[in-house]
């Protein structure tokens, strides 16, 4: 996090992948079209990235599942009433020092809270799953878009 409280997940300039893994690693997926096929690709990219980190298969499965639910939420809800390009961003960071993994999924659409009278059997599982699979999940809705930040402490 920088001083404004905004996660700063840019690529590490001049670093090699091996150096990244030694001290930490970042993954940045920008302008991912918010459609079902493209978020499947983003899910595979995240899975590949996790595969070279010392996080274990169980944690990796939880991270991939939670991140997918955040992306699926964007596809299904965020741009329903918005014109313009529907995209999302995924920024992931693993810090070796404190063994903390953070993934943020950001869109420029509109956050929709789960209605209180929703059918709990067939709706609303996505956000519940995000909270259950992660150590901490924060939904930050704003006029310009929504960021879902998920953290795993290992």
């Amino acid at each position: 996090m920088n001083s404004s409280g905004t996660p700063n997940f840019g690529p590490v300039p001049g670093s090699t992948p091996a150096a990244d893994v030694a001290s930490g690693a970042v993954l940045s997926l920008c302008d991912v079209p918010a459609d079902a096929a493209r978020i499947a690709g983003a899910r595979r990219a995240l899975h590949r990235w996790l595969g070279v980190l010392p996080v274990g298969d169980g944690v990796a499965a939880d991270v991939v599942a939670a991140c997918y639910e955040a992306m699926a939420n964007v596809v299904e809800h965020a741009y329903r009433d918005r014109a313009g390009p529907a995209t999302l961003e995924v920024a992931a960071e693993f810090r070796e020092a404190d063994r903390r993994l953070t993934v943020a999924v950001t869109d420029r659409g509109c956050w929709r809270a789960v209605p209180a009278d929703v059918d709990r059997g067939t709706r609303g599982h996505g956000l519940a799953l995000i909270r259950l699979l992660s150590s901490e999940a924060v939904v930050d809705p704003g006029p310009g878009g929504t960021r879902v930040t998920m953290t795993w402490r290992m």
């Binding site: 499947a40 899910r43 599942a65 997918y68 639910e69 699926a72 599982h125 996505g126 799953l129």
Partner: protein, 118 residues
């Protein structure tokens, strides 16, 4: 995602392979609903070979359990981190039967049928 249907006695087994996500779940839904329309017996959804299960697929399992309630048995076969764990975390194991193997699920449903005949 791949789908295959087979019957064991009066039980229809819907075997799912690959990923159940936003792209593939509508196909699974259409196929499962058709099976329910055509086959009056019990339904087992076998997720043994599913590597990824999104919540949209879990919601479909809830819907299938509701549609079979009162007319036939329903069970899901799931094991491992990608399927059994999220079903358990969300408490869906309390809404329908989840078994670790197809044999266990078939034994359960066979037992139910035997009791019904008594």
């Amino acid at each position: 995602m791949g789908l295959a249907a087979s019957t064991v006695g009066s039980v229809t087994v819907l075997s799912v392979h690959g990923d159940v996500d936003l792209s593939s779940a509508p196909l699974l839904e259409e196929y499962a609903f058709r099976l329910l329309d055509d086959e009056p017996g019990s339904l087992v959804v076998d997720l043994t070979d599913v590597q990824f299960l999104a919540s949209t697929g879990m919601a479909l399992l809830v819907e299938l359990s509701r549609r079979t309630a009162g007319r036939a048995g329903f069970a899901v076969v799931a094991n491992g981190t990608a399927t059994a764990r999220p079903l358990e975390l969300l408490g869906l194991c309390e809404m329908f039967t989840v078994r670790a193997s197809l044999d266990e699920a078939l034994t359960d449903l066979g037992g139910e049928r035997a009791r019904c005949r008594e």
